[in-house]
């Protein structure tokens, strides 16, 4: 069974969790031999932007030692043969097409999504 994981909301509790929890569970499922793809839509496309830096949170004497790094985590998924797709229009709306983006992502237009869905047995939107 091949599943396409759609991630739409970025930075939801990523500081508290030190991960994007959908990218994280995708890693965990891949570790259990799941065949997956990840599609970034909506504001989650910002995860492929360069120069993201979520480090430095300090609350009283507490310091975050393991800040989230979604771009690196996506790169790691790609190294595990999980394709990462990104909706081109969502990148363009956010001015990201002019920016340095994570290497290896596959850009898809919205009108290509039905074809992409067809390549997977199931589509799960998180």
């Amino acid at each position: 069974m091949k599943v396409l994981q759609i991630v739409e909301t970025a930075y939801r509790a990523t500081t508290e969790e030190q991960d994007d929890t959908v990218i994280w569970i995708s890693h965990a499922m891949r570790g259990a031999s799941a065949e997956l793809g990840v599609l970034l839509t909506g504001n989650a496309v910002n995860y492929v932007a360069g120069e993201q830096d979520g480090s430095g949170l300090m609350l009283g004497a507490w310091r975050q030692t393991q800040p989230p790094a979604p771009a690196q985590d996506l790169a790691a998924l790609m190294r595990k043969d999980v394709p990462v797709y990104c909706v081109r229009e969502d990148l363009a709306e956010r001015g990201l097409m002019e920016c340095k983006l994570l290497e290896g992502i596959v850009l898809m237009s919205r009108n290509q999504l039905p074809r992409l869905f067809g390549e997977y047995d199931q589509v799960w939107r998180w």
Binding site: V3, E17, I25, M29, A34
Partner: protein
């Protein structure tokens, strides 16, 4: 004879935070009512849905004591659905993501809810006719 299906639902919302929780439980009930086996993988805040220490309270705004208020508790909803499953010859499996349980300190779950991992989610989905993820926001 009607076909026996297994459906898997992945929930993410903590109790008392979203209408999605009520809708999710309505879906579970509808599936069990048809005699389908149902798997639930509770991820993130949803692991608190089965927390055994949820407690009812009165409602002074409405002048209701604890008994009168009869406040819903998701742990009671789960127990009720597990009982309902048995009357319909079906099975409700409730699995909480263990790491999510740990970070939220909700390790005491009601009887019938068990600790698991994303591998369980994947396995349940593989064994199901269909899987619905109800995401949080």
């Amino acid at each position: 004879m009607a076909t026996k299906h297994t459906l898997t639902f992945v929930l993410m919302d903590a109790p008392f935070e979203s209408a999605r929780t009520t809708t999710a439980f309505r879906l579970l009930h509808a599936a069990l009512d048809r005699g389908y086996d149902v798997n639930v993988f509770a991820y993130e805040g949803a692991v608190a849905l089965s927390f055994a220490k949820q407690a009812q309270h009165p409602n002074a705004v409405h002048g209701r004591d604890v008994a009168q208020e009869d406040h819903p508790l998701s742990k009671n909803w789960i127990a009720a659905l597990m009982a309902h499953a048995r009357t319909r010859g079906a099975d409700l499996k409730w699995v909480n993501c263990g790491l999510c349980v740990d970070e939220r300190g909700v390790g005491e779950a009601i009887e019938g809810a068990r600790r698991g991992s994303p591998a369980d989610c994947w396995k349940m989905a593989q064994q199901s006719t269909a899987t619905l993820v109800i995401p949080t926001k």
